[in-house]
């Protein structure tokens, strides 16, 4: 029997050299006449260990990492194909504490299966949710999702089942299911990992959504920055068509569901749902005024489900195991599990899927291991570029929707970006305004003009020009943007700015000399 070796094709692993590792293993195996099969899986999400190579042994999968191409001959010498001892040997993959303590429901197969093998997907429990959904009435499918307590994982946290019910209840000749895969928030990569590591779960979730609301067409709106995910999704969709899971009669049910990927074009604003719909229709991604909601009048004017990748990919397990199973995870009104992403200046960056309820501290230190630089963590930004900065004094806050809202932060798409004590928070506040100015769609004035004025005001504060008056003006500008913007971009850019001013006032009141010294300190890292 030939040995099976897993070398991820996840773009994060590729970014760290997985391709050359796979080539080196193939070359070495040939030279040594050791027959083996290399499976290009997704990533387990333990990025400080990537490229993480796994060997299938009789005792389960054994991990080695981080592996470079130069390590490969030594690994063969050590008998790694039989799980032999080596400095890079991490033991059974499932026993690595970072992974072992997780509760992977949505990510159950990511890193385990061959992403584009439909047979592998089915062998690991794939399409069981769809088979169950095919035996249910549409209203029953929607009810199961409602009962699960699933809330939109893209950031807005709206109950998914309620949204689906609105679409189901609309009389219309056509309806759509759209997946928002425009994962533009810095510090987030769970959508990417899922699409690259287990695309059939997303396909299954969207098909179930189509059956639930009566839609026959689905679109995945994917950001152009994700070419690897694009290729893998296209391969998986083609496979699903071949096997009759997509097309005119899903699994012979007589119900049609077609699915395709549409590419974005580098506009952060298109992650906003109405802007995404405009873009899908081939127009400038300008935000629409609501109402009407997309669930009533969405893509091409028809009732449309707009859900994030993770929301849709959580649906198969809910249908397969039941709403109560999913609902039993979590706390308060935050039900189920959340794929959390640890990013930025963090020692063990990666993906942690757990039931809601862990504190930031547990995530940052127990999982993350503290900063990558070895310096104290000073702040984290939670929920992407529109999320608040949280100071170390608030790290005991539980990571759920309500607890974060209570301290003026938001969970967003579940990303946490860590900063050590060399960060200049005034600079981060300026960046938040710059980013808003760069990405504003231009439709509403508070966002379009306010962000540019915001950059100027923060710069004046940093330069020490009329500081107190400019801080007051900044506060007023933030309030205007917060209340007067059409969508979350202008409406939430104040969060990082105001939280930086509130929690790190000293960074906005430094003299120029102190600023220069701080900069030098940062340079020494």
């Amino acid at each position: 029997m030939t040995t099976v070796v897993y070398v991820p094709r996840d773009s994060g692993a590729l970014a760290l050299g997985a391709e050359s590792v796979a080539l080196a293993i193939a070359r070495e195996a040939e030279a040594r006449r050791k027959p083996l099969t290399i499976v290009r899986n997704g990533s387990r999400g333990l990025y400080w260990l990537e490229p993480l190579v796994e060997i299938a042994t009789s005792a389960g999968r054994i991990a080695y990492g981080p592996v470079t191409a130069a390590d490969v001959p030594g690994l063969f010498d050590a008998g790694f194909l039989e799980g032999g001892a080596h400095a890079l040997r991490l033991g059974p993959t499932e026993e690595i504490p970072y992974l072992k303590t997780q509760q992977r429901l949505t990510f159950a197969r990511v890193g385990i299966v061959d992403p584009t093998s439909l047979a592998d997907y089915v062998a690991h429990g794939g399409f069981r949710g769809l088979e169950r959904a095919l035996a249910l009435a549409p209203a029953e499918i929607v009810q199961a999702v409602t009962d699960s307590g699933l809330r939109g994982r893209g950031g807005a946290a709206f109950p998914t089942g309620i949204k689906w019910k609105t679409v189901l209840d609309q009389p219309a000749d056509r309806k759509y299911v759209t997946c928002n895969a425009d994962e533009g928030d810095s510090g987030t990569f769970s959508d990417r990992m899922l699409m690259e590591g287990d695309p059939f779960t997303l396909i299954e979730g969207m098909t179930i959504a189509g059956l639930g609301v009566g839609a026959a067409q689905g679109y995945i709106y994917l950001r152009a920055e994700y070419p690897h995910a694009h290729r893998i999704l296209d391969e998986a969709i083609a496979e699903a068509y071949r096997a009759g899971y997509l097309g005119p009669s899903v699994r012979g049910s007589g119900k049609r569901f077609d699915l395709e990927v549409r590419l974005g074009a580098g506009a952060y604003i298109c992650g906003e749902e109405t802007s995404m719909l405009e873009s899908l229709e081939g127009r400038r991604g300008e935000v629409r005024v609501r109402p009407p909601l997309p669930a009533v009048k969405g893509l091409f004017g028809k009732p449309t489900v707009v859900n994030n990748v993770i929301s849709l990919a959580s649906v198969p397990v809910i249908l397969e195991r039941g709403a109560a199973f999913y609902r039993d995870f979590g706390t308060g009104r935050s039900r189920g599990t959340l794929p959390i992403q640890l990013a930025g200046n963090i020692k063990r960056g990666g993906l942690v899927e757990r039931a809601f309820g862990l504190t930031l501290r547990e995530l940052l230190y127990d999982y993350g291991g503290g900063s990558a630089s070895g310096r104290p963590l000073r702040a984290v930004q939670v929920g992407g570029p529109l999320g608040a900065y949280v100071p170390a004094s608030q790290f005991d806050t539980p990571f759920d929707y309500e607890a974060l809202a209570a301290i003026g932060a938001m969970l967003g798409h579940g990303g946490i970006v860590a900063f050590d004590d060399t960060v200049d928070m005034a600079g981060m506040a300026r960046y938040a305004m710059e980013f808003c100015a760069h990405e504003s769609c231009g439709k509403c004035t508070p966002c379009r003009i306010g962000s540019t004025r915001g950059v100027e005001i923060v710069e004046r504060i940093m330069e020490g020009v009329d500081r107190e008056a400019n801080l007051a003006l900044l506060e007023e500008l933030c309030e205007t943007m917060l209340h007067g913007s059409l969508c979350a971009l202008g409406g939430m850019t104040p969060y990082p700015v105001q939280s930086a001013v509130k929690h790190f006032p000293e960074d906005f009141r430094r003299s120029r000399g102190q600023l220069a010294a701080g900069h030098l300190e940062g340079e020494r890292r």
Binding site: D185, D191, E225, A265, R283, V417, M428
Partner: protein, 218 residues
């Protein structure tokens, strides 16, 4: 505006034939044209507008809205450096300054030999291995300034003299000015033939480059 070269016109029509009957096809068409030609030549706008029954303003409006679409030929290799928060937390700003110094150009510009275009990007989804860059369609994580030099040399060939030039100083200066036109035009040769470097396109390029921060494209 110069006319489209014959092969460009053919490419645009081929893309339109494939995609025009799809719902909401404009972005798909623009992606197709840029994939085949490397950019969207301005004289293609009226052709696309007519075929899709849109106004020229609508087509131009979409091209200019999205950072991804280019109206000028890019360098032979596109280097994108992530400037978002996670990468900033791991030294992306120093990496960006290094890249500018090393390549002798600013962001949203192309080197004089046409080898490399440098772009900013906001998140490549590699936030657990910051700072990240992308060269053409390959991503790289935990990129130090030294690693940056190796990667660029590997993909785009050895870097030329600009390295010694001061940051945004004299070395970068001439590129922004009038000299950028013919250089870009000449560099674009292999991509679009003689017609690829129309003076209009080049002028637009230098304007976009000079706009720096806010008007910059990814």
């Amino acid at each position: 505006m110069q006319a489209l070269a014959a092969h460009q016109r053919e490419a645009v029509l081929r893309v339109l034939r494939q995609l025009k009957s799809r719902p909401g096809p404009l972005l798909e068409v623009l992606h197709g044209v840029q994939r085949d030609l490397g950019y969207i030549p301005p004289p293609a706008v009226p052709l696309i507008a007519e075929e899709l029954n849109l106004s020229r303003a609508e087509v131009h409006g979409v091209i200019s809205f999205y950072h991804h679409f280019r109206s000028v030929p890019p360098g032979r290799h596109i280097v994108q450096i992530c400037r978002a928060e996670s990468c900033q937390a791991m030294g992306a700003e120093r990496l960006a300054e290094h890249a500018v110094r090393r390549l002798g150009i600013d962001f949203e510009q192309t080197t004089a030999d046409g080898a490399v275009s440098l772009h900013r990007v906001y998140c490549l989804g590699q936030c657990a291995c910051s700072p990240a860059i992308m060269i053409d369609e390959e991503v790289f994580g935990r990129v130090t300034p030294e690693r940056f030099d190796e990667l660029v040399a590997e993909h785009a060939g050895p870097l030329r003299g600009a390295a010694a030039g001061p940051l945004r100083g004299a070395a970068a200066g001439p590129l922004r000015g009038a000299a950028a036109g013919p250089q870009r035009g000449a560099a674009a040769g292999p991509l679009g033939g003689a017609a690829a470097g129309p003076p209009g396109g080049a002028a637009e390029g230098s304007q976009r480059g000079a706009a720096g921060g806010n008007g910059a494209s990814k």
